[in-house]
Symmetry: none
Subunit: 195 residues, 4 copies
DNA sequence: TATGAATGAGCTTTCATTCAT
DNA sequence: CATGAATGAAAGCTCATTCAT
């Protein structure tokens, strides 16, 4: 697995290894030694690049988040129809989860382990994401495409709806057809379930 | 906090205490000693009732899950309109999260700590829940109230949409008006966001 | 070796063991594990009684110091002639060093390892000792037995003179006749070396 | 601080740096890296000149000792009166301590950290010093200036008396008038304290 | 049944030392 | 000669679990 970014640089090798091991074992069960071995470096070397286990965990999450965030932002700023844009966002989100399952698992369930300062960092990042979505919906309403609704709530519903598909993918190893899945989500989301 | 179930029985006292301590510290940082103290029993006594820390954690989650599940099932089997039923489900879910914040936090983010056997148990429980919802939607479609859609996906979307509201409540201490919030969710869910 | 106080109490066993191991290896080379083994308890048990290695070191020194201090004080308050009193003090000091060589070694050379707070504690104790001696000399001057001199400096000279004999005993395993040695010291100290 | 010997030579720079760092932190807390930095050389360079941390420590102490020893020997071989000679020795000893406080601290309390072979080296050096003093006293006795006493014991008492003044200077930062202090010491030492 | 003193496996982190450049 | 990135042995401390009482 690991995070797309290929590189021979040692720091990156360690982060990739960390992603893998943290994903398999969770924060506390993961041993620095195993991370080091996986990265094919000595235990001490890890500490040359990261001051502590927590710091390594943090930077690993950060890198993944940035990677995801960048592709999201690019999509939001693209010039396609609202519906296509949202569909693409849903697709990318699920694609990311499918591709980086291990990372997703950690991100979803382990960041409570971080000190509250770092937790805060990621909640702010999440808020930003919601805001980004929010504005997209706001645009839709201004243009008269969407009904007038509480943008932020809508954004949160959207995010939750998409994100909730990740659970079975991650934990039950389901591999749904993402193209079709995102189409359905958008369908439901735009037209509702009522006849 | 603790989980509604009042009892003077020692085992329950320990579970309640466990819920409190696990919620505050997470699985790994929680100490058996603190749980014992909080329950006002000796450390050894905990092991009379639970074979290990993990087992205690598991049973604690299980009890919370059952508590939640029962109220959900009751609602699903009630004889109100589909829309009101779903609204009530959303409301109950959010109410549960609001009431048992600490428990919710653990449930959402710590169960990865469990061995995969026990993790499995909860995923099955979650699947059951989704199936329960699924059937509700299926009924709606059979009755011609809802458009024909993939029931399971709809159920998942619904669950995800509702559940996603829990994050800010748990982690940012937001206390939204649940009555209104569930109304909005249902609104969006039935009619869609498109004009 | 160990410190006179016989006891089957576990805390004391650990302190005695600590005295032995710290003496042989010095503070940093001493391993908690070895101390535990020597005391015939588990590693964790040591931490039941002492919060840290440093704390154990501190309490060990403290106990030795008290043991020594008590016998010194008793002598100072006895009703013998000044000369005999000082001779007894010298004798006791050297006797203590001879008997508890290992402890003496640590006390003389390792307490720098302590945090400054604890270092302070022992310097104050040492000052007290000097003050105690000082008063004895003051009495002698008041009674006209001694020449008028700076009491504190005299006390320090006396202490240093006696104490300096400890080096060879501790580090070169010399075992001089303490009776005679203390007689000589007092002799020199009272009458001077000049003809 | 550092030890008087000015030089631009790299080895000396390292020793001077070592003296500083060892003095501040003690043997075990001192890091080779910090010593290297302070000497403005690379970490590996230190190992070009010294085979190990212990060796560096040893050579550093050795240099300090020689520096002290030389000035002492010069004084012992000078042609002044016995009393003045001893006074000068006391004065030089205390002066050295006052000037090189940090070094004194290490010398007094850290050399236990050395392997026993190196410890031995310094005890022999100390014995030499005592012997040197011993001979001075022997001369005094031969000349009929001093009472017939055990020379070695007298030398040890003298050394201890003088040295004991160092404690407060080093650890309590006292800065006594050394001229007066050494006069008092000699006074007491020659005439005794008795009336 | 209830207890808590005792235990020791297991983990993070440090830092002297090496060696390729 | 000089360097500093890389290393891994070593040690303090924690805490789930046991068991004698």
């Amino acid at each position: 697995m690991a995070l797309g970014f290929e590189s021979s640089d040692k720091k990156l090798r360690i982060i990739r290894s960390a992603a893998k091991v943290f994903a398999q074992k969770g924060f506390h069960r993961a041993k620095m030694e195993e991370i080091a071995q996986e990265a094919d470096v000595g235990k001490g070397t890890v500490y040359e690049y990261f001051s502590s286990k927590e710091q390594l965990f943090f930077e690993m999450l950060q890198m993944g988040k940035n990677f995801y965030h960048d592709s999201l932002t690019k999509e939001v700023n693209s010039e396609v129809s609202l519906q296509n844009k949202l569909k693409k966002i849903a697709y990318l989100h699920l694609k990311f989860i499918q591709e980086y399952k291990d990372f997703g698992r950690v991100m979803m369930q382990e960041f409570l382990q971080l000190g509250s300062e770092m937790q805060n960092y990621f909640w702010k990042a999440h808020e930003q994401e919601i805001t980004l979505l929010s504005q997209t919906f706001q645009d839709g309403m201004s243009q008269g495409i969407l009904r007038p609704l509480d943008c932020k709530v809508v954004a949160q519903i959207f995010h939750g709806a998409v994100h909730s598909m990740g659970g079975p993918m991650i934990f039950l190893d389901e591999e749904p057809d993402l193209e079709q899945l995102s189409t359905t989500i958008i369908e439901v989301f735009f037209k509702g379930i009522a006849k």
